[in-house]
Symmetry: D2
Subunit: 479 residues, 4 copies
């Protein structure tokens, strides 16, 4: 089944019966009706539906190289710069549908899988590596429009520089056995966003393993035996899109993933038991340039949304004349145009990799990934500063349906809006910058590609500074 | 009844039957059992109880000048620098009980009332001014340990620099009638924190009125006829102090106050219908130095609490070796010591006002009120940056009481804490910096004494820069 | 004479005998040998010489549309995006020669003149406007490779928002007479960089005039009668390129321009006595996009140079392992890549204007002009922080030629450099960030396109925010 | 000879004939007439003269405990909080005389010597330690009003974390021999401010030595045999106090100190050859609290001066109405009041040390030493931003004495000043924020007490965070 529709996605999720725990209860019944998941599942379904919108078919899909049937554009292995532009257009179409709030819209993982599968040759001929499993899983996912999540991170037990896990029972997930059927995993990994509402979970070592048992890459169905998702507290506070315009639609949820002797069948193992590969694989592939290209494209749309909110507040309470207001709004504009410029540069400077795929310029996108965490956190502050006391006492939808409505209508009107419109706008601004949902988005963007301090160090180390050092030396040598 | 106990406070609140609306419902029954209010009422009661703690009696009360019975120390009209130190000690005792989270603990309004009553003479002999009403209300409040809220702010309809309200029906509360019983108020005012859970509401013009009908000062019982409190959405998400260690205890609530033809009896009118007085009164009194002295004293305790959380995170996940971690923690230390130094300076440089009361140095405290909004917002960011991914997927109390507890115990332990302790700590850190309660605290501190940009302008304008200009001129004139 | 060589430039300057005052003395004799000017004149000459470097001819010149002879590429009226890339390549070639330190290398004014001449039609048919003079001056300049400076700014007497000059004698330059020969100018204008070492001075109102006599545009030879340049203190401290590697080469000098009844002949008057034109002309032309495109291209090269210095310091004293060092260097990298991305975007989004010329996207370049002043000031701080105490006691060239050389050799060596090399590097770092020359560069970049606060306001006002406001409205309206 | 006068200081300096090198030349003749030194020597002399000003005698001196004659107040060993206030008053009196620009006015080193001598007992009974030499040198200095400089820093060869000097010839100064007369030192130390214009140079290990030969403390006359001062380039550009109001008076100069087999006689050796003592001594004494108390007191006066300059610019060009101007000036006010508050707190919380001397609170002063480097660098930026283009083309004194004076008078007048006054003010602003002298002051304050990043780490590590961690634990344990 190529490029699926929303209802197919929903059906699959309900059939999975994944083992998910929310607030001490195992989710039972249809997950698409569970309060914590129904909003995001509905929004995700609406993304898939765009694939079947006749006017968008060209944008959202391309003919499968195997079958000629339309498959999701995010699976496209780009061979030209135009392909990169197509990929960006697709991502931004989906992003506009969720205002960039869903960091794990399906194109993210599709892109990740495409990126690593396109570099599968790296694994060729190496011990305990199965590049053909990776390629065939990519094809399977593409042809069946499989939804995925992933988890790269080990539990945060001790963040000292030199730390070795010494507990008897594993904490970080590791291979504890291999047998004729596959490898057996025990332990946990953190932070699977959308964990439990995707067909599969992809698990890949991101490097840094000191024990080879902690290094592996595979994908398994979310309902695999022994696999458990422990969700954090849900930030959905109700169905009202008046009260919670964002979380009622876009709350993706994060989960801890527990592997309780989970069997990964051999045909789903991409590699294991090879410390060198596990520590180098991910960043040797096209993972970083392609995943960053998707993320930055989405973040641009998110920034546009922020600018829309900022300007709506300015107009609502009529504060555009203030210089400091103009300066704050211009910060958002500068960030938006900077991100747009960086993605354009990454495409303009894209180059073919050794396998003939067109990679956007990684350095340029690394710069974007250093910029966005800072500006996105700042956006929250800007919205708080513009909304000011107006963000402190916003009533709810129910208040507008009660006898006090006439008070609200009179006392909460603003320069350009009636009370209800203005309250809806301020609830949105509040949810974006001050709710548990909104601050989680800030934290999410801040750590999207890792610790910002590490990101800066990596950029520094990988950047070619030599030509400029030489230019200085040449000046100093010239009398 | 002098210095009351917690149970007296609770009884009074339940008897009032104030007209409060939460989420479209009027509060009915005992307010001390209402989910939105029970936590904060209980905490507030515990503050009052400290007045009856034998070991603290000297600290928390002083003998009434009228009756000799113990009355709340926050009512003390200070005549010496030692009196200021006593006032600070009292405020910090109460603040430690709520970790500085309750900006409207009773000492705040008690201090405000003391401050303006101590300057009541300003009103003497002025048209439509009743200094004797103010003084006798102060004495009434002191002798009966009356709890109060207040509201200084008009609705935020239009924040342009030149704006005159032109609607037929009043929006900002105004006097629409006077009769033999008193004055009649119609319209709204914003942002009464603890609105509805205090005996009285004090309403004072903060200046800036263009229509004399908008200028007045009075106090009325919270259950006055026609008076309505429209609460914002409650940020209490449950009773569990494991899940919500702060909001379950300290959520003070903010409300819009609607005056629907509310009669203010003459003996409660402090002034009205005098534009000059209404625009100058508040800032001519000891309001600013005394209210700032209370607030800064509380904010010091709050900063200590932040430092405690910051250091607890550092120890829990063992990150004290990192330079950037040390730098972030040192930011909190620097802020803490700066605030402490400013309050000490304000006391050391206190001076007797014209009525013989000892005012702490206002300029010094204005500096503190410029500093704190910035650093407190920064604290939230620091906690987010130290907690990092650990703040992204924290389970709830219920999870620990379910079959998955053993997973949590294994996978969420940290270097120095077992899983439950660590999760409790991270929930606290999350609630402090990322929950709707926590961000509301940031916004509250940011606007506590007004728009930060205005605060800086005021400080600049009021500061005596002349001696330094002269020093420069003298240097330039010296050959 | 098309594209000139360095010696032709020098000859012209020496022949002009412009009326320039330095430190209370009128410059006499050959200006190319005057201590304050010889370095920059020599460097400027070396730029012109590149036009005659066979390997660069294609890059630096193009065939004159009038004569087919090679004229300077900075005069090119671009008709395609490729033309923009050519213009950028030329600017960056020159910039590398001066490490981006010369904000007024000839391409800047050539570009400005090209830009306004290409929009000369705006003046057509308007009162007191002479578009044909502008076009023919452009052609004259192009065909003769005329060097120019300009001045846009009135004296800074009073910067209050509402200020009208009321002195009897003009302060800001104005037309005080017109006669059959031309218009007569009296008064001053500020800040002609390179004032006195160019063939011509172009004077154009930048808007904001309240008196039509202050509004005009013209160009006259630098040695016009009554024209006087009052230079600021020279920041050249000596000829030694060891001691002063930058100022000995790149000190462009700034001057106040005094018009003492200067006659501007009619054929050099572009417009006068038309308040509307004078307040709108400049920003209606291609001035901003083209001048910004040149400036940003140069600033990129300057940023590369900064990165070279930063990395050279890091290597010299071996501090690359420190995280905060990596972070500071990465700030420079991020700025560099951002500026490069913005110029690429401005070209990718260039559009033909109404006269068929290809304008780079103005908004994108405005963003760059908001970014650079901030980052360039920050660069100075970064260099100071990395150089640290090493910048506090750097000896001079003469010390190395004295008996104490052996002490210096022993005690000032660094990890990777001998003492002399290291001292030269640190002198460069010092001159770049801490000398009068270096701080003037910071101030120059900070105000290059006007007051940074105004730049942010302009960007905000001109940016099209509507699509994003509508997106927000649409979300709020969707149930 | 107790508390000396200015002329006595000058005579001594001229008699010393210290071996100082400036720009490759050894200073010959009277140093008080050397262009690089005459300004600062004259200013320093004027400080000493204040000791003989009858109206200031009480403030500037106290009776010697040995002779009863007046000795400099900076030698006072404080036993009460009032003594600390006296010490501060003395420092600020001197600081006002040099506008806080002289970081090494004599009270600094007098204070350092007093502080370490007051803790000399630490050395008692330890190997190779001579506490009695230290005490008697303190008394000698006090009774003879000896001027001193010092040097704590080793050459900056390699700043990697793990670095051991491996050269054959010493780089960092070390003991290479001991004999019956004393110890012999070879090598260099950095950054003796006022090096060469003081009677003595004090050399003390500041910790961090890995080789015991690098650890010692002593004082020797500046003209000791084999001792050489290599000055950096002088930042005095001329005698004109119109052109250079600061450097012509306050340029203290920094020097590298070379020890070419310098003999330190035994009675001047405080300790040597004891790695533990050398690494702990300085920070075990009262050095930090007392030196910080002096420095912070001076920095307060310097900040007042900055505020004077800032406000003078604001008035001169009439920009006080702008909000961003008010905000920038308020930054200076906030810094000033913060520094004042911290010094008051340090005195209020002073405690007697084990030898009965009253130490100001060290932690509070460490906070100040973390604050000032940041704000002082920011002040430079603020002055640049307020002065704006007015700082770009300022003429010199000579211009006002030339035929172009009438042009300057007309075109450089400002709202409130005539041209000459305004130019003098802007030259001062320029020298303070943009000259080599001004930026050296920024760098000097930035590193006054060490690398700012290390300062933050030290503050973090030494601060007692436990009470606050316990408060958090107690909240978490309370149900």
């Amino acid at each position: 089944m190529p490029a699926i529709s929303g209802s197919e996605y929903i059906d699959r999720m309900n059939r999975l019966q994944t083992n998910i725990w929310v607030d001490g209860q195992r989710v039972a019944g249809k997950i698409s009706e569970h309060p914590a998941f129904k909003g995001v599942i509905k929004t995700q379904a609406s993304l898939y539906d765009l694939q079947h919108d006749a006017s968008l078919k060209e944008k959202m899909t391309y003919p499968s190289p195997l079958t000629g049937k339309p498959v999701g554009m995010s699976y496209l292995q780009p061979k030209t710069k135009e392909d990169l532009v197509k990929r960006r257009a697709m991502t931004q179409e989906w992003a506009r549908k969720n205002n960039g709030m869903m960091g794990r819209s399906p194109d993210y993982m599709n892109t990740v899988l495409m990126a690593i599968a396109s570099s599968a040759d790296i694994l060729k001929g190496k011990e305990n590596c199965f590049p053909e499993h990776l390629v065939s899983f990519y094809e399977y996912a593409r042809e069946n429009d499989i939804s995925m999540t992933h988890t790269f991170v080990n539990p945060q037990v001790n963040r000292a520089q030199f730390y070795f896990e010494e507990t008897e029972e594993p904490i970080a997930a590791k291979v504890i056995e291999k047998n004729e059927k596959g490898i057996v995993i025990k332990g946990a990994r953190l932070l699977a966003t959308q964990g439990g509402i995707t067909d599969e979970i992809v698990v890949i070592s991101a490097g840094g393993a000191q024990d080879k048992a902690n290094g592996f890459a595979f994908s398994i169905p979310s309902n695999s035996k022994g696999l458990k998702f422990i969700a954090r507290e849900s930030f959905v506070r109700g169905d009202s899109s008046f009260n919670y315009p964002l979380s009622s639609r876009y709350e993706e949820m994060d989960a801890i993933v527990v592997f309780d002797n989970v069997l990964v069948p051999w045909d789903r193992v991409f590699f294991y038991d090879n410390i060198e590969v596990s520590n180098r694989f991910l960043f040797s592939t096209g993972f970083l340039p392609f995943a960053l290209h998707q993320a930055v494209s989405r973040q641009i749309v998110k920034t546009e949304f922020i600018l829309g909110v900022v300007q709506s507040i300015i107009e609502s309470i009529n504060i555009s004349e203030y210089q400091h207001v103009q300066e704050k709004a211009s910060e958002v504009i500068i960030a938006l145009e900077t991100m747009k410029a960086l993605v354009i540069k990454s495409e303009a400077e894209a180059e073919l990799d050794q396998w003939g795929f067109m990679r956007p310029d990684q350095t340029t996108l690394q710069v974007a990934s250093n910029v966005f965490p800072k500006v996105y956190a700042r956006f929250g502050e800007i919205i708080q500063q513009l909304g000011a006391s107006g963000l402190m006492s916003i009533p709810t939808e129910q208040s507008f349906q009660s006898p006090i409505r006439k008070d609200l209508d009179q006392y909460l009107q603003s320069k350009s809006d009636d009370a209800e419109t203005r309250v809806k706008l301020f609830r949105l601004a509040w949810e974006l910058s001050m709710s548990a949902f909104g601050t989680r988005e800030i934290q999410y963007e801040r750590y999207f590609f890792g610790d910002p301090i590490q990101l800066a160090s990596k950029l520094y180390r990988s950047y070619d500074k030599d030509p400029f050092v030489k230019r200085v030396a040449s000046l100093l040598e010239t009398p």
